[in-house]
Amino acid sequence: MPWRETPAELERARAERAFVVNAPTGRLFAVLTPPAPEAPPAELCVVLLTRPRSHRNRMWVEGARRLAAQGFTTIRVDYHGCGDSGGDSAQLDPNRPYRDDVVAVIRHAREQFGARRFVVSGACFDARTALSAFAQEGGSIVGLVFMAAPVMELDTVVRVHADSKDWAHLWRALFKPDNWRALGQPGRWKHMAAVLGRVTGKSVGAASELPLSAGFVDDFRALVRSGARALFLYGHEDAEYASFRVAERTVFATLPADVRARFDVEVWPGSVHGFLEMTRQRETFSRAVSWIEALHPGAQVAATAPDRARLSAAS
């Protein structure tokens, strides 16, 4: 179902304040949604990241008001060079996250709004940016929602995704007319070449040799040190998941049990990354927000994974 604004959410909209953060990268335009005064305070400030800050289908606007109605403070912000913000635009690369922006927002919220503990949330580039904040602000971040982000350099992600294919996959693909039509796109040719390379034995290497992005590894270590909880959410069909599987087999596998217990890893059937199909978009959004809701000290329900049988078969 699409979002229907509730009276409580409209009240939170009335309470919102627009503000500006002077970051090293430019003037960042942001919106603060204060917690509902009648709700038990969560004492948490949730920073919702994407560009523009409202997110596809205004998911973060809905999320901000829903969380604020339950006692959370929320902030959504435009990165430099995006949306309303100053600074110059550039192609976003998940392996070059905008740490300066998110750290500037956290510090502004601490100084101007008295926020002390934070939750950061995003998908893909935004997830990597959220994770990157731990290097400088790990002591104040208690939760991370990390959705469908690549954890290798992008060229490696393409090759690793191709690594998940075999001759049977290739044979089936040859008989799909849509695949032939799709070869009109240069990017599809690149992918096909990578798949063929893998199937004919030119793999990128064994799992242990695969290079996770150095930036991801550093930021992941900062997350581990922080004591924060985290939700890692992927779809089986996401190209980004192929890279994350390597992280599961390497950096996750070596975690002490108590640290590993802080991290929820959910892999759903189909795709999570695109946000282009409404049913899956709503499922993903709902999961991210409910996971954050469960961080509320007064939450009655633990952050449990959704019943897989109830998930759509998004692809």
Partner: protein, 310 residues
């Protein structure tokens, strides 16, 4: 003639009058400095808060109107957002104040998209114009309508006696055609991705009628906005208008489309001073690009038009 496309009142068959832009355009410079002066805020419209950004003029220019920018519908608000921001910065830097806003059910404003109807969008545009004049202390309003926002601006314009000029970026002419085009582009993109569409445009329209909404690239298109705008017509909305008008066609073709050319002719027949131009580009109206779409020639052309007003 400018290097990127400017022709006064061209016939629909004209080609050489429109020097054409390259497909990709560099961003206007100095965006950082311009942001220093801007003020984000909330204002009231029909009892609900709407988000807006006021761009004060960087220099005194008595007599200049304030520009009110009416964004596109749904995902198009997102896809063209940065282009509109950079336009506002360039115009304000030239001494013309600008007010951008998010209509109800869009961006950071209140309301949900499923409840948006055409009359509400016009109501918000008029409220934004009043807020803009208050902030800028100006008596006159110039309108910029982007895509579906062109229909909104064209309806607000005659309802606001302070209206002085209107600029239109690739305006929608008739909503039913606009919505069918949106559905068609979704099916094209599915084919381009190697997927077989599960419905025709007609079937999607039927689905919209039956279910009240249809999924378009991760956005719902709702029956309410479709039904409430069904009888709108850009040409009819501007039927009494004879003021300065800019129409920019943003398509990868060399001539003005027949509807745009017809609108130009109608306006000129009433004595309106019309500037039309073609920006040969394909922004991808329904997708957010990385980085977001920017178009310096479009900004320059809009600035040139507004510059001539005062």
């Amino acid at each position: 003639m400018s290097p990127f496309g400017r022709a006064h009142s061209p016939p629909s068959s004209a080609t050489l009058e429109h020097a054409l832009t390259p497909p990709s355009s560099p961003a206007p410079a100095a965006s950082t400095d311009a942001a220093e002066l801007e003020t984000p805020l909330f204002f009231e419209a029909a009892g609900r808060p709407l988000y807006g950004v006021y761009h004060p003029p960087a220099l005194e220019r008595p007599g200049a109107p304030v520009l009110v920018q009416c964004h596109g519908l749904g995902v198009e608000q997102i896809a063209l957002y940065r282009a509109e921001v950079l336009n506002a910065r360039a115009v304000a830097a030239a001494g013309i104040p600008v007010f951008r806003y998010h209509a109800r059910g869009h961006g950071d404003s209140a309301g949900d998209f499923s409840a948006v109807d055409f009359a509400g969008l016009v109501e918000d545009a008029l409220a934004a114009a009043a807020e803009a004049r208050r902030l800028a202390r100006r008596e006159h309003t110039a309108w910029l309508g982007v895509r579906f926002g062109g229909l909104v601006a064209a309806r607000a314009l005659p309802a606001d006696p302070t209206s002085r000029a209107i600029a239109l970026w690739e305006p929608a002419h008739r909503p039913p055609d606009y919505f069918r085009g949106q559905l068609r582009s979704m099916l094209f993109s599915q084919v381009a991705q190697g997927e077989r569409p599960d419905a025709t445009v007609d079937q999607l329209v039927e689905r919209l009628e039956r279910d009240g909404r249809v999924d378009v690239h991760g956005y719902y298109l709702h029956r309410r906005i479709v039904d409430s705008s069904r009888d709108e017509d850009l040409s009819r909305s501007l039927a009494t208008w004879s003021g300065p008008t800019l129409i920019v066609q943003i398509e990868n073709r060399a001539r003005l489309g027949p509807r745009t050319a017809g609108l130009v002719a109608e306006l000129e027949s009433r004595g309106a001073k019309v500037t039309s131009s073609i920006v040969r580009d394909e922004p991808g109206w329904h997708f957010t690009q990385n980085p977001a779409w920017e178009c310096a020639p479009l900004v320059r052309e809009t600035l040139r038009f507004l510059d001539a007003l005062a």
